[in-house]
Amino acid sequence: MENYLYIALFAPLLGSLTAALFGARPKTLFTGLWTSGLLAVSWISSILLFLHVYADPSTNVVHVKMMDWISAGNLSIPFGFVVDQVSATMMIVVTTVSTMVHVYAIGYMSHDKGFNRFFSWLSAFVFSMMILVMSDNFAGLFIGWEGVGLCSWGLIGFWYHKQSATWAANEAFIMNRIADLGMLIGIFLIYWNTGTLQYDEAFAAMPNLEHTLLITIGAFLFVGAMGKSAQFPLHTWLADAMEGPTPVSALIHAATMVTAGVYLVIRANPLYDLIPEVGYVIASLGAFVAMFAATMALVNRDIKRIIAYSTLSQLGYMFVAAGLGAYWVALFHLMTHAFFKALLFLGAGNVMHAMDDELDPFKMGGLYKVMKPTAILMILASVALAGIYPFAGFFSKDKILEVAFSGDHYILWGVLWVTAGLTAFYSFRLIMLTFFGDERYKKLGFHPHEAYPYMLWAMAPLAVLAAIAGFFEHAFVDFVTTLLPSYEFHTHHVEMILIAVTSTIAILGIATAVIIYKNGMLHPKWMERPCYKLFTNQYYIPQFYDAVFSKPYKELSIIFWKQIDMKIVDATVDLIANTFFNIGENTRGVQSGNLSIMLRWMALGVTMLLTFGLIFVAAATLLG
């Protein structure tokens, strides 16, 4: 079983390294097939491991220690990996979505010059994510954390000739870095107070620490999660990250990287159980983000950004669940969300490809006639996102609302309820504007066509899973709660009412969207309203960050460069060099070849000798 662990972990790395060898060459189909094949191997290994752990969760957890990494004094950090219930779930999610995205990308990137480089980065990303979820200590987690940050930088800025892409990549990386500082402080505090970074030992030692210290650790770890999962205020990078190719958005920003923050909170559940107040803050922040992102998605004119904001919103949902202590609910929503969100992104990729990379849904319309399979898949994914029975989103989203209600957090429940309606509305606004209504694209001269068949076949498993994953809820709960704490629901008598209420608002949202957008765009007068402007400009937050953080930092950097670096540091080094140079220049005259000057030097030498002799003799006679 350990061999399967290593295969699952290192197969993507092998694919990445071999693809990297071809990085500078023009496209070779071999790289795409090879990396996808290796990822399929990893996928199968993950499934086997999952089944193995599922068979007997209490004893079949696979735990290996590959080698010692740091062994200095009291500090001992090994490269250890564990496949327990949580890891196995994450592995399945990651490898499934990754394999489908890899196959899809062979078609999507087929006309791109950097084909080989793309697959190298993509497989490297999957490898880092696998390290992140399979590691059994905080140090390994951090390695994976940084690895996915790096690979996401490389992938967002994949088309590096575009200024906007490189800027977005830097923004993503720098924001993640800022959050990583918080996470590092949390990890340091854990080590300092418990003496170990292994999960089991650290969590076992935590109940003995004092409460404020635990709050500090939990808060700092969550700061790290905030960066990765783009919670407010570190959220601006997620929307800008749509500059990368669509398979990247599907893999990273729907299914894997942004869920790393949720994974961290789930993994650290023994800690967060001890500090419910921090959990409540996390939940409130999550609810705020859910509403905040949904409002921005209502009015956006870029199909990928709409889906990105929807990801942000759903991440808020997951954090609400995790913050309120219902960790298995968060994990379940993570899993289902991965499937239908990746499906949405891949569908959007198809639409973009057909429309020559045009992103504005106001320029599309009526594409249903031309792209039936894509449209059907996207409708299926949107219905799952809106949370309609029997698709997967219904089960997971509903559970989260139940969690909020049962803990008597009615305000949270209200916010999430309204957001569910908004979610349904904007998802179907996207569908209606893109696929139905009058065919605006014809006036603009586009000639859309359906995507390659194998790309559609790659999307199919995701669609199937988005449809049926909800029915595995009970099996999932029984499996995962052997490790995670189970959650007590106090809502058994109002369960049916809640389900009805939630479904109502979702259907209402869908109906509203269909009616408004059936005949085309919204009346232009809507766009004059101030709240419309507020939403469209993302509440002016990016401008705020630019003015308050970026500009002063740039000025400070210029000062450091011109005043300190050039005037002080450079001057010092130049001074040392110039001193030697000048000594050489000035003593060159000693060997002038001129007899007169040499005689002078000789006389000087004689003077000095006589002086020393005089002093020496005088001292000898005086001191006896």
Partner: protein, 179 residues
């Protein structure tokens, strides 16, 4: 008493003439002052009971060496005023002044050494020339002979350096073919 008067007169004159040698711009004056200084130095030798040395000084130095220098001056045409430019004249005097001061300070201090004993003590009763001869041809014989050889070498060197048409042999060439 006579000794001290003679010493001071001689020393003042010697120093004056040597200073003239060193500082004058006229080469002829320098030559003349040098010759005068040589003669006065021999006076010192006579004061110090070194009669033979004093005579040798007059004959060799003032006679031969000065004649050589006079011939040199004629050859190099240095009778016009010397034009000398210095970068920093003060350095010269500073250096020399320092050396002079130090030397004087060193030498004014009493050199009272009682452990020095004469290696070749003077013989009583004979004149200085006889004593010099007794030592020169017995104890210093080898340096004497070597000095003789060296003088021969110097003479030949001088002829070779200064002579003209030295590569042609007078005896092996045709009679009267010397051009």
């Amino acid at each position: 008493m006579f000794e001290s008067i003679a010493f001071y007169i001689f020393s003042v004159l010697t120093i004056t003439s040597f200073v003239v040698v060193v500082t004058t711009k006229n080469a002829l004056y320098a030559l003349s002052s040098l010759a005068a200084g040589m003669i006065l130095i021999s006076g010192f030798f006579f004061l110090l009971n070194a009669d033979f040395l004093g005579v040798v000084q007059i004959v060799v130095y003032t006679g031969a060496v000065m004649a050589l220098y006079a011939f040199g001056m004629m050859f190099f045409d240095t009778t016009e005023t010397l034009r000398e430019s210095h970068a920093n004249p003060r350095v010269v005097f500073a250096l020399s002044g320092m050396i002079a001061i130090i030397l004087v300070v060193m030498l004014v201090a009493p050199i009272a050494s009682t452990h020095v004993s004469a290696l070749y003590p003077m013989v009583e009763g004979v004149g200085n020339s006889e004593a010099v001869g007794m030592v020169l041809f017995t104890k210093y014989l080898i340096p004497f002979e070597v000095a003789a050889v060296m003088l021969l070498v110097a003479m030949i060197g001088g002829i070779v350096l200064a002579g003209k048409k030295m590569d042609k042999s007078l005896t092996t060439s045709e009679q009267g073919e010397v051009k």
